[in-house]
Amino acid sequence: MPEVAEWERVLLPDIEKNETEWLAAYLKKGGYDVARKALDMEPESIVAQVKESGLRGRGGAGFPTGMKWSFLPKGAFPRYLAINADESEPGTCKDRPLMEQRPHTLIEGIICSCLAIESETAFIYIRGEYYKSAKVMEKAVAEAYAEGFLGANIFGREGKRVDIVVHRGAGAYICGEETALLTSLEGYRGYPKLKPPFPAISGLYGKPTIINNVETIINVPYILKNGAEWFKKWVHERTTGLRLYSVSGHVRKPGVYELPPTVTLKELIHDYCGGIRNGHDLKFVIPGGSSVPWLKPDQIDIPMSHEGVAAAGSMLGSSAVMVCDHTVCPVWALGNLSHFYKHESCGQCTPCREGSSWLYKIVRRIEAGGGQPGDLDTLYSLAGEGTPGSGMISGKSICALGDAAAWPVGSAIKQFREEFEEHIETGKCPYRERKTSYWMANGGFVNESFDGMPVP
């Protein structure tokens, strides 16, 4: 095993132990000191410090957090803070350990953020399947309330109020989209809202609302404690701070890695994760959650920052790295991803509703041997090149789910055109004969037979 550089771990120092840090332990470590400090700070100075640190949203879009906060209209109250813990992007698993191991850090981050944006109520929207996370958060919030860290007059400070509502979703991927999350919080179907107006102007219940990812918010107390310069210690271009990389797939040691953005994808896969599993070669990598364009083995020597991955033609997204070895049929993998987007499309707007299922039907048909000569052209015209705005779906839908459904299709065809053509020409999937295990089979993870797959 090659030597790897050991990095300081801030967010999840003891991830291997998988223990929840309850209030007593947290206070022993000096917990909530930052929140107390933040009480004395001007909201503007908190926002300025976050802006200075270069903290960018960790949910996928990578929007600078401080800038987002400064979009709030002056004098419009109440304001709400919504924490997006609806972590449903396939491959992403970083918010869950954060919530389950560091709930009080998250609460402290919420308090600091609420003070920064002058909000009195925060909602944590937790993915429906994250039962333990929700229970841990509920208990932690109750602890904080009992200590007077939450509720009216926090930390005994007259007139300062922060309430946290822990809300569990019902298991819809679309509710991780910020406006759909708000609609769901309001009690309606989780439909994304039309933009503009953006949530910072008119969000939850028509009031200015800031929506941030768990990992984003949990970084705030560290920035306030150690200063923006400390956060910028780990920097690649405009990506700062330590990140959590969720690595899954055919590596020896999949898991969540806390690393600086300067680490390359190659290092991440081959050094930190121990390389590809026995006897196999790397086939492709999805570097930032299931919706981003795929990278081939010759493209992985790139720093894992927003800019670095973008230079290679993909996106960092939620920094969830999915690794596939050469046993994986790209057509089948694409069909699996398309099935996910077809299944998770909310059905509100036409291009995504009809396009995602059409994509799925075509890809599955090709994989099952029913491909026709014009299919790749149809896929291309539907999904485009895998770049924003190209194709029939991307950029036409209400939210970004349409783009997310289209991008992998375009890039997969671009990267593995010969294999798609082989499927169509031979009328069968060459991988079936190899009887090897398959990555991410529907319902299971490995060694799933193809016959169990629903083929339309």
Binding site: A172, S345, G347, T350, R353, E354, K396
Partner: protein, 899 residues
């Protein structure tokens, strides 16, 4: 003096007869302050736009068509069909026109290459799962998807895979849902949420498997539900009664007016071979042919849509009958009318003209009304002509007449505040209620509710509501008038209303601060005991409200305003409909001429009426149906039915509209004005009446608007639009109070009872009510509402009358319900004056505490009119629940067949 003016003809809003003259769409820019206006470029043209408008609205005003499915001017913006994608300069991708607000200097290209390509793509997506079964689909020929796929789509489909399929549900008796054809525009869902008000439709499942449906698989329960059929741009929601009966292009369209209630909606009747196939909101010329406008804001109620075919009932009788030796025998019309004339002449000779009464159906046209009045006053020589059989007492009828005479309000002026007194408007005059609701919902005007019953349909949009016990409304109104005039104190009014002073002060301030307002008063009550006091009180309140305000008394009768204006009322000297049975009993009336049996049907139950009518020397009935009354007639004259009659009629707001025959009268029957003309001539006045409807209209016009020269043709909806509609406007200040000199001199008018607008108001603080409010312990006070779809002489004859009839219920105030222990959907026995019936309970805040509200259909056995005197009401809860219609259908739960 009434005047004929030409309606404004600008933009789409002006072509809409009612609903939203100032709707979002096509709102003219006149009168908008300059600082709100800016210029932008639309398809290379400089256009003006208002701040806050969307691209779609600008396009509509500028006659630039942008394809759209989900956007509808009356509904909220959904932005989900994505078909209105247009190109905007400096925006990298196409954006939707329906939701994007315009900004100064914006350059919009709605038909550029980028926009067209995007629209074409969206069309392809919509057709991916849409079945290619246009030949089978009932929407074929008027389908927006068909049309757009020709105009904006590609000629071929690349979809080679299996299409999505759903099981077909059977949820609604009137609306057929075929989900395979749905494109998920959610117009129907938004309509039920926003206009229908019952939130009964929804989107179910997710993603590409989603579908529209109703909660609990129940029916779409609101009274406007039929409009979702027109709103649906594809063949998903179609009309069950009309389904597959005919193709739309085979039908003849007649632009006419609904004859069922006082809303007087413009409608299109679709006929073929003399048969009415369907009734819809007015069709418009679009895309080179006449079709229902999917963007129509002219919603009509289910009764108007589905219940208009009563003339085709099995009991329809086209020929005339004459009684010969106790047998009714068919006779040619000429013989029958001569015989009727002879019979009437005999009565007049023997007992004098005053012994004849002429009764009119409240849906009689102005022409019929005028001729009936002339026949009575001029030919027969009687005062007794009346249309008000639906009013529950002589006093109530007189109060209604007095109110209609001085009414001066309408909704078209978009008043800032609408004060509703005793509203059950949604059931009396549904579209009027819909328009009041629109004022509240879309134009953000304030709705205030007073009185003993609050319309549940409007209650959700009311800014404030103040209940009082039945019988105390007049007192409250008088007190309110006193407060406004500074004569009474807010504290007194607050104590009368049982509310805090703050609430009442807010009410008073709202009314006082309004620039314009409208007092809407429902004139129907349980047995006609409240209107006599409430009408003068409302009149006094109207006077106290002053300039800018109007008074709109509401009855459900179709042409109440016209018949009232034409003086078809007995006045002080004659015998009205309500006094008829007594007058027959004591021999003052010896002959009755009824134009339409619904002119006498509400006077009592059949037995009572049969007893009275058989005492007559002559009973001439002009009607379209075989009925218990036709069998009693001396002479039965076959009269044209609905859609067979030409004429004009007023709606409750005083706008005149053309009632146009779409088909020829059945058999040997004649239109009502022709019958009256012939009857007058048979009575010896060869110069009576007129030879054409145009001539009668000229006479009507001379009475109502002497300086007008509008022809009937001018009243017609020209070219499928009513942009050139002539409106006989209700003049302000009660000038519709027809003065005697407007009558041609040879008619006797001297004794016609006319009261001036100045009512004597009851003194504030006194209780003019005839019955005191009671608490639950003493039994309940009873109110009831007529229902446009209720059991009636004509309504019963509609082909699907049973489906239109609302589920009967008894509405109980929550506090009372708790006291007697009943819940919504629980059965109870209702005791009224010793009679009893089983009825489902609905707990709601419509009635005041201590009052129960009987919906139409419950009071069938009770017949409110025969329950004069105090009413004892008792409710006895039963341990039984109203079966939920949805449960039986749950088994047929729709789910996608394939994924």
């Amino acid at each position: 003096m009434a005047q004929v003016t030409k309606g404004p003809a600008c933009g789409i809003g002006a072509t809409i007869g009612y609903g939203a003259p100032a709707g979002k769409v096509g709102r003219a820019l006149e009168g908008v302050p300059e600082d709100q206006l800016f210029t932008m470029t639309l398809n290379g043209r400089e256009v003006k736009a208002r701040k806050g408008e969307t691209i779609m609205e600008v396009c509509h005003r500028e006659d630039t068509y942008v394809p759209h499915y989900c956007w509808h001017p009356s509904l909220s913006i959904a932005g989900n069909c994505r078909l209105c994608l247009v190109e905007v300069e400096k925006v990298p991708k196409p954006i939707i026109a329906c939701q994007t607000q315009v900004s100064p200097g914006m350059v919009v290209k709605s038909a550029s290459e980028q926009a067209k390509t995007a629209q074409e793509w969206m069309m392809e997506f919509l057709l991916v799962n849409h079945p290619l079964d246009c030949p089978i689909c009932d929407r074929g020929g008027e389908c927006q998807l068909q049309r757009y796929s020709m105009e904006y789509g590609t000629s071929h489909s690349r979809m080679a895979d299996k299409k999505r399929k759903y099981v077909k549900p059977q949820a609604d008796p009137l609306i057929d849902i075929e989900r395979n054809r749905c494109i998920m525009c959610t117009r129907c869902v938004r309509f039920c949420d926003e206009v229908g008000g019952d939130h009964v439709m929804g989107v179910f499942a997710r993603g590409n498997d989603n579908y529209i449906g109703t909660f609990g698989q129940g029916p779409v329960s609101n009274i406007f539900s039929g409009n979702v059929i027109d709103l649906c741009p594809v063949g998903c929601l179609t009309s069950k009664p009309f389904r597959f009966k005919a193709r739309v292009w085979e039908l003849t369209q007649t632009q006419t007016t609904c004859t069922q209630c006082s809303s007087g909606c413009k409608v299109t009747s679709w006929t073929r071979n003399g048969r009415l196939y369907r009734t819809t909101p007015p069709s418009r010329q679009r895309h080179d042919h006449f079709t229902i406008n999917e963007d129509t804001e002219e919603f009509i109620c289910n009764q108007g849509r589905f219940g208009a075919d009563f003339s085709a009932h099995d009991s329809r009788r086209g020929e005339s009958l004459v009684r010969r030796a106790d047998r009714l025998e068919p006779a040619p019309f000429g013989d029958a009318v001569a015989r009727a004339g002879k019979a009437l002449r005999e009565v007049v000779e023997r007992h004098g003209g005053e012994s004849v009464a002429i009764l009119l159906s409240p849906r009689a046209t102005n022409e019929e009304g005028l001729l009936a009045r002339k026949l009575a006053r001029d030919v027969v020589g009687t005062w007794s002509v009346d249309w008000r059989a639906n009013q529950q007492s002589v006093e109530a009828a007189n109060a209604v007449s007095a109110a209609l005479r001085v009414a001066d309000g309408d909704l078209e002026s978009e008043p800032d505040v609408v004060v509703i007194v005793n509203g059950d408007i949604a059931h009396q005059s549904p579209v009027l209620a819909l328009r009041i609701q629109e004022l509240g919902r879309r134009h953000l005007k304030k709705i205030v509710m007073l009185g003993h019953y609050h319309d549940p349909y409007l209650a959700g949009h009311a800014a404030m509501s103040f209940h009082n016990a039945p019988g105390r409304t007049a007192e409250i109104l008088a007190q309110l008038a006193g407060v406004l005039a500074g004569e009474a104190s807010v504290a007194d009014l607050a104590s009368s209303l049982g509310r805090t002073e703050e609430d009442v002060r807010e009410l008073v301030d709202t009314i006082k601060s309004a620039q314009s307002g409208l007092l809407v008063q429902s004139l129907q009550d349980f047995d006609g005991r409240y209107a006599p006091a409430e009408v003068p009180a409302a009149g006094a309140l109207r006077a106290a409200l002053g300039e800018g305000w109007g008074w709109l008394p509401v009855t459900g009768e179709r042409n109440a305003v016209g018949l009232n204006a034409l003086g078809c009322e007995p006045g002080e000297h004659g015998i009205g409909a309500r006094g008829l049975l007594d007058a027959i009993g004591d021999g003052r009336i010896k002959a009755v001429v009824a134009i339409g049996a619904d002119a006498i049907d509400p006077l009592g139950n059949e037995e009572l009426l049969a007893g009275a009518l058989s005492n007559l020397d002559a009973f001439v009935l002009a009607d379209s149906f075989d009925s218990p009354y036709s069998r009693l007639a001396t002479v039965f004259l076959g009269m044209a039915g609905n859609l067979e009659t030409d004429g004009t009629a007023f709606d409750i707001e005083g706008n005149i509209a053309l009632v146009k025959a779409g088909v020829d009268p059945v058999g040997d029957s004649r239109q009502g004005w022709r019958i009256l003309t012939e009857l007058g001539r048979a009575l010896g006045r060869a110069d009576f009446g007129a030879d054409s409807i145009e001539d009668v209209w000229t006479q009507v016009r001379a009475e109502l608007a002497a300086d007008s020269d509008a022809t009937l043709a001018a009243l017609e909806l020209e070219g499928g639009t009513n942009a050139a509609q002539f409106v006989v406007q209700r003049p302000a200040g009660g000038a519709r109070n027809r003065a005697p000199e407007h009558n041609p001199g040879n008619y006797r008018t001297d004794g016609l009872h006319l009261r001036s607008a100045a009512f004597e108001a009851p003194k504030a603080g006194t209780a003019p009510s005839s019955s005191d409010p009671a608490s639950a312990a003493d039994g309940f006070l009873l109110t009831w509402g007529p229902h446009v779809s209720g059991r009636g002489y004509l309504q019963n004859r509609a082909s699907i009358a049973e489906m239109l009839l609302p589920k009967p219920f008894l509405e109980v105030h929550p506090a009372d319900a708790a006291a007697i222990g009943v819940k919504t959907n629980q059965f109870a026995v209702l005791h009224v004056n010793g009679l009893r019936t089983k009825v489902g309970i609905k707990v709601g805040r419509g009635p005041a505490r201590g009052t129960v509200y009987m919906s139409a259909g419950v009071y069938g056995p009770f017949d409110p009119s025969s329950n004069a005197g105090p009413v004892e009401v008792r409710i006895e809860p039963l341990d039984e629940l109203v079966p939920d219609q949805g449960e039986a259908l749950i088994a047929a739960e729709s789910a996608p067949e394939s994924h």
